[in-house]
Symmetry: C2
Subunit: 233 residues, 2 copies
DNA sequence: CCTTTTCGTGTGCGAATGACACTAAGTCAA
DNA sequence: TTGACTTAGTGTCATTCGCACACGAAAAGG
């Protein structure tokens, strides 16, 4: 195989795709967005949204494009996970996939804008079906990464609506980390970080005391970030 | 572009390479192995060792192969860094590179087995020349990753000879982290982890007190690893 | 035997962490 | 109106952890 300008390709090229692990938070549980494949191979299986990378297209941009095309999603946070290229992962031929993971707020998506997918649905990370290709493995790595990231950077807010209560935030962290947290200590720590702004509103629902609403303040975060900082939950 | 079995490739494929950031420890400094390119583009520039991925070849295997072919290196530790695919990173065409980083012991390499490289040399991470492509950026990310990893997993030992003194180990950590560490606290912590075995030998050199030699013990590490643990320096 | 150089060791103080239980505020039904 | 129910919100204390810090020991060489 030989390129146009005298440059030698010693070997044929593996195909290159991007796949996205999209996290959402619903029903008190951490969820992943999956699509049901309409085409072979793995027709009828659940899989990660993704597709081929175009020549001249940035990898991150390709991931974002696939998300909006295939699921009508506008991701609040998008980070590369790594490349997965085990030879047998696609039964057709050697396909290398660059995986990304994303966080979306409830509401920042309209499912079923899909083209080649039969269906798109959220699945709790605890009850995932068997996935196509090596997508199960990819999701596992993504969950690990999310857990590590959430302890060190305030990315979790991208899974909550703009306005939220501290109890909701704690529920989110418990869902992500998979462990219970002490209420008082959690509030102490979170507020000590000084990343949240208390809104002049409260959320009242049900027959009980209303809760203070907060908003994540990116400006405050930028200040902290600029002078080396540690998050620590 | 259309594949053999009726499967549609909607777009041409970007080329796929692997590049390796190889770390070594010499002269009390953290070093990176670079090769001097013999071919255009960037002929005469320093660059990371790497090359094209073969179809059917695992990515990690490709990285290992390039290392041994191009630099006669047997890496003690090899980890993927991520994919770099900005459209303009290679002036010829769109090339996506999967980067790896590796740690090698002094002695586990014989430089200048290179084929298409003019020269291969170690460079202190503090005094790197300008690198070809986006390799400077890749090295930056690799150093960051090494710093993060070394705080949480005992990977540093892969940069030292089998037998080493605690002072050498401390020097290594200082070189990687780029900061001075307290001698007594360092020793306390390292020994408390119970990962090292004291050897019945000492290293005597120069006109001063000889130092106890230690060896990293993978078995002890495996035990710790098996029941969730934290490293913390 | 004196000098030089590196090796090896313990304590104490202030900060951070983690366990822990009750009152406050609201709704609804009796 | 009052009592029952549900979730919100708050402070203390004991323990652990992190970090600063200084000197005697061992060897070699002059």
């Amino acid at each position: 195989m030989r390129g146009k300008k005298g440059y030698t390709y010693e070997y044929a090229r593996p195909a290159l795709t991007v796949d996205c692990v999209v996290f959402g938070f619903g029903g008190g549980e951490l969820e992943v967005l999956l699509i049901e494949r309409g085409l072979e191979p793995y027709a009828g299986w659940w899989a990660l949204p993704g597709g081929f990378v175009r020549v001249g297209e940035d990898l991150g941009a390709a991931a974002g494009r696939e998300l909006s095309e295939e699921a009508g999603i506008d991701a609040g946070y998008l980070e590369q996970l790594g490349a997965f290229g085990a030879p047998g992962r696609d039964p057709r031929e050697h396909v290398v996939s660059v995986a990304y993971w994303a966080l979306v707020r409830p509401g920042d998506y309209r499912l079923a804008a899909a083209t080649d997918a039969v269906a798109a649905r959220w699945h709790g990370v605890g009850e995932l079906p068997r996935l196509a290709f090596d997508h199960g493995e990819i999701v596992g790595v993504a969950v690990e990464r999310l857990r590590a990231r959430v302890r060190q950077q305030p990315v979790g807010f991208n899974l909550l609506p703009e306005k939220f209560t501290l109890t909701e935030l704690q529920g989110l962290y418990e869902a992500i980390l998979g462990e219970g947290l002490d209420k008082r200590n959690f509030r102490k720590r979170v507020l000590a970080l000084d990343l949240l702004t208390a809104l002049p509103e409260e959320r009242r629902e049900g027959a009980h005391r209303p809760a203070q609403l907060f908003r994540f303040d990116p400006d405050k975060y930028a200040v902290l970030e600029r002078r080396g900082f540690h998050f620590e939950l």
